[in-house]
Amino acid sequence: MQIKIFIERTNKNLDLEIKDTSKVIDLLKSLKIDHTTVLVSRNNELITEDINLNNNDNIKILSVISGG
């Protein structure tokens, strides 16, 4: 299936082809991102690492790293 991702920290938009049964945690692992360092939202609603992704999802990955 196809999903759209916006990674806030690098200001990158990606179109990704992922497996039909992929969860949020699988997506983060494939992007080499620790789930403890980000918030993930779908349609501006926060979702947890164990949630299944759907075709055509719009996913935002927000970094939680401190600004100092």
């Binding site: 620790d34 403890t36 360092t37 918030l39 401190s66 600004g67 100092g68």
Partner: protein, 305 residues
């Protein structure tokens, strides 16, 4: 799904517990208020100055302190912001802090490195190869303490969270700076001295991710920003190691900080006679040597001009 109300979860805690928006907000506030009570961070008659940057941690802290103090006539709360002068970063967080304080009617004072020291941080960094975070940390602590005293604060509240503390503990451990670790904890300073304003850290047991989720759900800030100078420091390496361990072994940071808290009374006892506080010969601020680190930095950088 949330463990308590079967609605969509927004977080999986390190214990494995899943919480929805409302249950998470309740959990978060209860835990912060418990930290304040357990460590007696706020007392009757306190005049609290909250150090704010306009980022998620400090605005979350200010919101919660305001929630407590607005019900208490015997406690005063105000906010203080130190503008280091970091282009393309601090301008936005200052705007957020100003708007926040206006909404919640909290008095805000802004002090800058430029006015205090004659240079912005950006200008200072052009004159030295020293680690930006070390210089900025020293200057910020100096400015915060100096103006907290001017504002007659009895407590200086900072937005340090569990991640910050876990990083400091591990850094001190690996650099054999145990005496510096003795100055950590939810309320800092192993020696009570008229020159130091006691610092309190009510977010001490909240992870950075928990603070981020709370501030996101409360819509305190529109985006999370990282300081442009924070890349490639010793702290960022330690942060990455801890985050990677936390992802693999949930609860790692919490375990590290809780173990440290159990050892802290022993460290404080061991170092209470070793540390002596003097007054800096140049600026009169408290320090452990003849001249404080801030004055040393300024003198050194002036020589390099």
């Amino acid at each position: 799904m949330c463990k308590y109300c079967e609605t969509q979860a927004v977080i999986i805690l390190s214990s494995g517990r899943k919480l929805c928006k409302n249950c998470f907000i309740r959990y978060f506030e209860k835990k912060v208020f418990k930290t304040i009570k357990t460590f007696n961070l706020i007392e009757e008659g306190d005049k609290i100055v909250c150090a704010v940057s306009g980022g998620k941690d400090s605005l979350t802290l200010l919101y919660l302190l305001n929630k407590i103090t607005s019900k208490r006539r015997d406690i005063e709360l105000s906010a203080m912001l130190v503008d280091e002068g970091i282009h393309n970063y601090r301008e936005k967080t200052i705007k957020d802090a100003k708007e926040f304080c206006k909404i919640y009617e909290i008095p805000l004072k802004i002090y800058s490195y430029k006015e205090e020291l004659g240079y912005t941080l950006d200008e200072l960094l052009k004159k030295t190869k020293a680690n930006p975070c070390s210089i900025c940390g020293i200057l910020r602590r100096y400015t915060l303490n100096k103006y907290a005293k001017k504002l007659q604060a009895t407590k200086l509240a900072t937005g340090h969270n569990l991640d910050d503390e876990a990083q400091s503990i591990l850094m001190n451990q690996m650099k054999h700076n145990i005496e510096i670790s003795a100055r950590l904890g939810p309320i800092t300073g192993i020696i009570r001295n008229i020159g130091f304003i006691p610092r309190i850290k009510p977010l001490y047991f909240m992870t950075e991710k928990e603070v981020s989720i709370y501030s996101y759900l409360k819509k305190f800030i529109s985006e999370f920003t990282e300081c442009p100078n924070s890349f490639d420091s010793y702290r960022t390496d330690i942060r990455d190691i801890l985050n990677s361990l936390e992802a693999k072994y949930p609860g790692t940071k919490n375990g590290l900080v809780k173990s440290f808290i159990e050892m802290l009374p022993i460290l404080k006892e061991k170092y209470k006679f070793k540390s002596s506080i003097k007054s800096c010969k140049v600026c009169n601020e408290p320090c452990s040597n003849e001249i404080c680190k801030t004055c040393k930095i300024i003198e050194e950088l002036k020589l390099k001009l």
